[in-house]
Structures are given as C-alpha cells and as structure tokens.
C-alpha cells in the first residue's frame, strides 16, 4: 500500500466510480424504484417529491427510473460503439502499416476521404439516411470514428516494423498473421486501449447528441439524449425533465474522461513525468 503513488490512487478512485456507474447500469431493474416504461398518465409532469425523487415526465413515467435505465442504454450503445471502432480501425490500420505498398495506399486514401468530412455532420447524414434507431446511430458514428484508430494503428505498426525482433521473426519464417498477432498487436495494444478509454466520454456525448436530434434512440426508450429532447418542450414549466438527464450525462462523461486520463498516466510513465 505504501507504494501507492498519486497517479495510481486517482486511477483506482476513478475506476471505483466507473464500476459504480456500470453497477447502476447492470443492476438497473433492482435499483430503479419504478418501471421506466410504466406510464401513469394521470401523474404527468409532477415535480420532484418523495414518491418521485426526480419528478415524472409528460406521460407520468418516473424520471429517476428512466435515468437509471438510461445508463444501461447509453453505456451499452457507447461500449459497443467503442469496441467496434477500436477493433475495425486497429485491424485496418495494422494491416495497412504491415503490408505497406498498394494496400497501404488504398486504405489510407479511404481514411483521408473519410477525414475530409466533418465527423458529426457526416454521422447525422448517415443516421438520417438509415433511419433513426439505436443500431443505426452506432453504425453512423462508427463509420466516421474508425479512421482515428486506423491512423494510430498504422503509425504504431510502421514504427515496430523497423525493429529487429520483427526482422528476426520474419527470418525465422513466421507467417504475417502470426507476426501481427503475436508480435505487433501486444506491443501496440496499450496505446490503443488508452485511446479507446479516453474516447468513451466523447462517444457518450455524440450518441446522446444523435438521440437528441432524433437520429438515435426512439421513444419510449429511456436514453439521456432523447430525454433531454423530450424535456426541452417543458423547459420553462418542468425544468427537472432536462436538469437530471443533463446532469447524468455531465457526471458520467466527466468520470469516464478522468478515468481515461488516469489510465493513460499509469500506463505511460514517461508522460506522467
């Protein structure tokens, strides 16, 4: 315990918070006081009270329950999105970096093409064309976000390729797939994971943004971005409808960002100095 540095302490602190949020998402059915879909319409737009800590929305659904379930929707969407873009982007990047030549040129020009568009605007266009739902929102954001990992994966691979141990592996007759899997991937993984961790917060925001605009989760799904949009109609008469989902997004994004930062700090000691 004595060797616990400040960085490590912060990392574990933030990890605790992250686990707490995940816990909320996983145990939502036990934690939420009401069914988030149960519309008791006679109790519509009630202000926060003992019965409904965060008040009720226009259809009389309990806001607290919807926010707790919203953690489920938001995190599930975000984690699957980050997983998709990390795997796909890294795979393409590593492939381009290792193969070089024409493969590299073609893949990287595709990446350049994608980067020529402003990300979120392109995502809105794609989601708009596909039609609004959760899967399409994830696809749309994945389509514009994988390029970052492709670039990163490629440059890391290029750096590694010059190293002697790769040359040794090639001389030993290892197949390219084996080299990629056993020698390159483990070496670039820490950087990729840190990048992915730091992306979670951004992706929560962007997914919530798409839902807010109507391109992501559809009613009656409890999702924070969508709840913000629904509450917008009542911003002057029932402000709690925007306040609590907004606060939920703020807190969760902050925690994931801090966690990503602290993960980077402990994984990369050079940077910490």
């Amino acid at each position: 315990m004595g060797s616990l540095t400040k960085d490590k302490f912060l990392f574990w602190l933030y990890t605790f918070f992250v686990l707490l949020i995940l816990g909320f998402a996983i145990f939502a059915p036990w934690l939420a006081p009401y069914d988030p879909y149960d519309a008791v319409m006679r109790q519509s737009l009630q202000a926060p009270s003992d019965d409904h800590l965060f008040g009720t929305d226009k259809l009389g659904r309990d806001c607290l329950s919807r926010i707790i379930y919203g953690a489920r929707t938001s995190l599930m969407m975000t984690l699957s999105l980050v997983a998709v873009i990390t795997v796909v982007g890294t795979f393409i990047g590593v492939l381009a970096g290792y193969m070089g030549g024409k493969v590299d040129t073609v893949l990287m020009r595709i990446v350049d093409m994608m980067l020529a568009f402003p990300g979120i605007v392109l995502a809105i266009a794609i989601a708009g064309m596909l039609g609004g739902n959760i899967v399409n929102a994830i696809l749309a954001l994945a389509a514009v976000s994988w390029t970052k990992y492709a670039r990163l994966g490629r440059s890391l691979t290029l750096k590694l390729r010059q190293r002697d141990f790769i040359a040794a592996a090639v001389t030993n007759g290892s197949r390219p797939l084996h080299i990629l899997w056993r020698h390159i991937l483990p070496n670039i993984l820490p950087t990729i994971v840190v990048t992915a961790a730091m992306d979670i917060g951004t992706m929560i925001m962007e997914l919530a943004g798409l839902s807010f605009l109507g391109f992501g989760a559809q009613p009656p799904t409890p999702e924070w971005g969508l709840m913000l949009n629904e509450g917008r109609q009542h911003i002057q008469t029932a402000p709690w409808l925007m306040l609590y989902p907004g606060a939920a997004i703020l807190i969760v994004v902050t925690i994931f960002n801090l966690w990503g930062d602290s993960l980077r700090d402990i994984m990369d000691p050079q940077r910490a100095n």
Partner: protein, 523 residues
C-alpha cells in the same frame, strides 16, 4: 511571460463571452415599433403559389389574398370580395355580385372577369378544386359573376371561401413569379420577400377595406412551438400563433400579453390503414379501445384539448353528445378482441403474435404541432399495455400529405380542420369516401363502406339544413362503428399577442392571421 500570455487569453475569452451575452440580450425589444409588426408563425409552405398543395392557406393567413366570401367567428359565411350572392330556382346557377372599388395590390381594379380567370386558374392547377364542386361554365359580365354547376351545390359560398379559391390577378403572372415573389392579391399586405423560414410583407397601397397600419410585417417561421413561445416572451415577435398547451401558462400576465383562445374546428385523428394488421375490424376496435383519450386531453394536455370521439368536433352542431363510440376506452374489451382475432403472446415479451408475425404498427407523426408527438407516445404506451408494438416514425410535415395519399403508414396522425367550407361534408368525403383508382386521393387508407358512400351521395344534393345535419350525424356514426380512424382530441387554438399591439384575433377557420385590424395599441 508565459503567465501573462495565459492571462491575456483568459481575458480575451471573457470579453468574447461578454460580447455574445450582450448581443443576445440586446435583441429583446424595448419599445413598440409602430412601423413594423413581427408575427411568429409555423409555416409549412415552400412557396406562395396558391394552387400548390395547401399553400393558399399561407397566402391568406399572411394577408396577401382574399376570397369571395369569408367565415366569421361562428363559421357563418359572410361577404368579402363578393358583396352578395343568390341561387337560381333550379339550384344550378349561382350569381355573385363582385364588390365595386376593390383593387389588386398592383392597382388593377377587380371585376368579374378577373375573378373568373383566377377561379379557372385554381381549377386548372389544383386537383383538389374539383372535390369542392364542378362547374359547367363561369360567366363574367361587369361586376356580375355567374357559375353554372354540374349538379346542385348547396354550399357554394362556403366553398368559395376556401383559400384555394382566393382571388389573384392572373394577368400579372407572366411578369411575376407567384411561387417566389407571392401572388398579386387584394389583401392588406403584399409579399416583399419569401423564403420558407421568413416572409416579409409590405403594405398594399391600394387596399380597399380601411387603413393598413404597418409599413412592413416580418413573419418568421418558428416551427418549434417552445421556441415560438420564447420568441414571444422575449419580445422578438409581437404575436404568435398556436402556442403549445404546456406553454400557455407563461402568458398569464394580462398587462403584458393578450391570449385569444378559442375552440377550433380541428380534430386530431390518426388515420388507420385498412390494408395491414389493422385491416381486421377486431384488431382496429381493440386498438382504439386501448387508448385512454380522456387522460391524454385532460391531464397530459392540461385541458387545452377536448376528448376525442367522433370526426366532427363538438364546437360544431352535429349532435356530438348523441353519437355513440363503440370503441370507447375499455382495456379488457381490447384484450378480449385481440384474443378473439387470434393474437397471442407466445414468447412472453409482452407483444402479441399471430402466425409468427408480431403485432407491430407504424405510427407516422410530424413534430411541428407540439401535441402530435405527445399523443403518439401516449398511444404507444397505452397500446403496449394490450400487446401492440407501436413504432413511432417522425417525418417532415411535407411528407405527410404524400404518405397519406400513398397509404404508407399503419397509423398516420393529422391535425385537420373539419369544416374548411363551413360544413364538414368535404372533410368526411376526403378521408372516408371510397377511393376508386385515385378519384378521392386523400383516402389512402383503403377504407370503403358502400352504405357510407350512399349517404355521401345523398348529402351532396341535399339543401335542407336539418336533413344535411342528420345525414352528417349518420355518416359520423358509420365511421365510428367501423373504427375507421382513431379520434384523439379537438384542440383549442390561439393567437397570443403582446399588449403593445391590439386586434389580433383567432378565427375558428384558422385562415385569417394577419389582418389590417392588427395595429399598434393606443397608449
């Protein structure tokens, strides 16, 4: 040095923020402007061509165009550009006396020939025109206009009060692009510039009916109802139409705002497609029975809507209270009907199935009227309780008309005026008369009932008021018995104006927003 650099940066950011904030608050209007009026509306029209789609409504609402007759606050037909009218003994010829001294906004006097040209233009360019009436001949002589109809048309003055028949100067057309620059009409204002988001009107120097108080009228289209309410609160606009139910409470201060709330002639209904799963009368009846419309209107919409039941709202005298809704709210009956129709929840997910198919219904909605998505979600939630999976699809208003005609929906929500001719005959015909090869395009649902068609045929030639009333009541009951649509509620409508102006009034017909009666308030 580095520290100073940082400080400068922070200062710059603060300054920038201050400029922004000052800019925002500066836009609030301090004094009433007596030269310019600003009206916050929601505009669905892409152009001002009155014969396109329903765009004539906008032309009339913005004070550009007027028609031969108008509806007063009780929906009685009153003379407007026509001074008087009469019908011949054989009921086939209507004679209108066109008002003397009326001029178009280009100074050209209005005579019967101009009216004839304008009416013929409407018939030539819009297919909806013949759903009102068909004419054999229109004759113009001086200020006398004669219309010979193919069959007796009891409600002719009411038909001609529809915005579609507003009078434009056809001879001005080659030189002027009506769609982009606005038509030449006889109204108090004329169009200066128009884009969908904002129209600017200027005074018509030749207006015939009294003083036009404003030089310029700016009409921004603020489609989001809450933004519209905020624009009115902040003084960005002097008056706004259709403030949402949830926001009306913000304008209670009588010293600052004048609220004109009236029961409208509108009905919010969901058309039900008869070709999908809802084609089964039992499923349809089950769906309607599952919807607790009393709560939607009285609780969620805070009583700014009246509980829906029949096609025609209770604000019109068609025996609303005597009509019997066979599908009134009854959740047990709804479940039982679904069971009788063979729908069962076999996989325990709460959604019913039959022959391996889920009980899924697409509900098409648009958002420019605040209540529509609220109704849709309430229906979705209620229908789920009996095992329907309702998928809400939000689309742009401009797509609604086309989707309705093509039948691309399970349910399709609309907020419709039921009596745009002062009488609900046309409205009932449009949505429920059998559509044979597109001869009644508005009925895209596939609904057809010969008994109802017979009543409609009788109605179209009946002149006697009492008989007409009874026929309309009968028609409504048939539609309700068939579960042909889900009648959600009847809205109030409103114009809210700042007390710096006076004369803003909402009419049940919803055709007259900008008039020359709106003027700066006397201090």
């Amino acid at each position: 040095m580095k520290r100073i650099g940082k400080l400068t940066l922070v200062l710059m950011v603060v300054c920038l923020a201050a400029v922004f904030i000052a800019g925002c608050s500066g836009s609030g209007k301090k004094e009433a402007d007596t030269k310019t009026l600003k009206v916050g509306v929601t505009n669905f029209a892409d152009s001002l061509e009155p014969t396109e789609n329903y765009f004539a409504w906008v032309v009339m609402r913005y004070g550009i165009g007027e028609s031969l007759a108008k509806f007063d606050e009780k929906m009685n037909v009153q003379p407007w550009l026509a001074e008087s009218w009469q019908i011949s003994a054989d009921h086939m010829t209507w004679t209108f006396k066109i008002r003397d001294g009326v001029k178009f906004s280009n100074g050209k006097p209005l005579d019967a020939a101009a009216v004839k040209a304008s009416l013929e233009r409407s018939f030539a360019k819009n297919k909806r025109a013949v759903t009102f009436f068909k004419y054999k001949e229109i004759k113009a002589e001086g200020q006398t206009l004669t219309i010979l109809t193919e069959k007796p048309e009891p409600n002719m003055p009411g038909f001609l009060a529809d915005p579609l028949f507003l009078i434009v100067d056809v001879s001005a057309e080659p030189a002027r692009n009506f769609a982009k620059e606005g038509p030449i009409g006889t109204g108090p204002y004329m169009c200066k510039t128009f884009v969908k988001d904002k129209a600017v009107m200027v005074k018509n120097p030749y207006y015939w009916d009294g003083v036009v108080p404003y030089e310029t009228v700016e009409i921004p289209s603020i489609d989001d109802p809450n933004t519209r309410a905020m624009a009115l609160q902040s003084g960005e606009v002097d008056m706004a139409v259709n403030i949402a139910a949830g926001d009306i409470g913000l304008f209670n201060d009588k010293a600052k705002f004048h609220v004109d709330r009236i029961a409208s002639l509108r009905t919010v209904l969901a058309r039900i497609n008869q070709q999908g799963v809802l084609g089964d009368p039992k499923v349809r009846a089950a769906f309607i029975s599952a919807c607790d419309r009393k709560v939607y209107n009285e609780v969620i919409l805070k009583g700014t809507f009246i509980e829906g039941k029949a096609p025609v709202p209770p604000s019109m005298d068609y025996a609303f209270d005597q009509l019997k809704d066979p599908n009134s709210y009854n959740i047990e009956r709804s479940k039982q009907l679904l069971a009788e129709a063979g729908w069962k929840d076999t996989d325990g997910d709460g959604i019913l199935e039959k022959d391996g198919k889920k009980l899924t219904v697409d509900f098409v909605v648009y958002n420019s009227r605040a209540e529509l998505p609220i109704y849709a979600e309430a229906v979705q939630s209620d229908a789920k309780k009996v095992g329907f999976d309702v998928k809400i699809k939000s689309v742009d208003y401009n797509l609604i008309d086309k989707m309705g005609i093509n039948g691309e929906y399970g349910l399709l929500i609309s907020n419709i005026t039921t009596a745009n001719t002062g009488d609900p005959e046309i409205f009932l015909n449009w949505y429920w008369k059998t559509n044979r090869n597109g001869d009644n395009p508005q009925n895209g649902s596939g609904y057809s009932n010969p008994a109802l068609d017979t009543k409609f045929a009788e109605l179209s030639t009946t002149f006697d008021r009492q008989q007409r009333r009874q026929l309309i009541i009968d028609c409504q009951q048939i539609i309700m018995n068939d579960g042909a649509a889900l009648f959600l509620g009847y809205p109030e409508t409103n114009i809210i104006s700042s007390t710096s102006i006076e004369g803003a009034q909402m009419y049940p017909s919803d055709y007259y927003w900008l008039t020359n009666k709106i003027k700066p308030a006397k201090k």
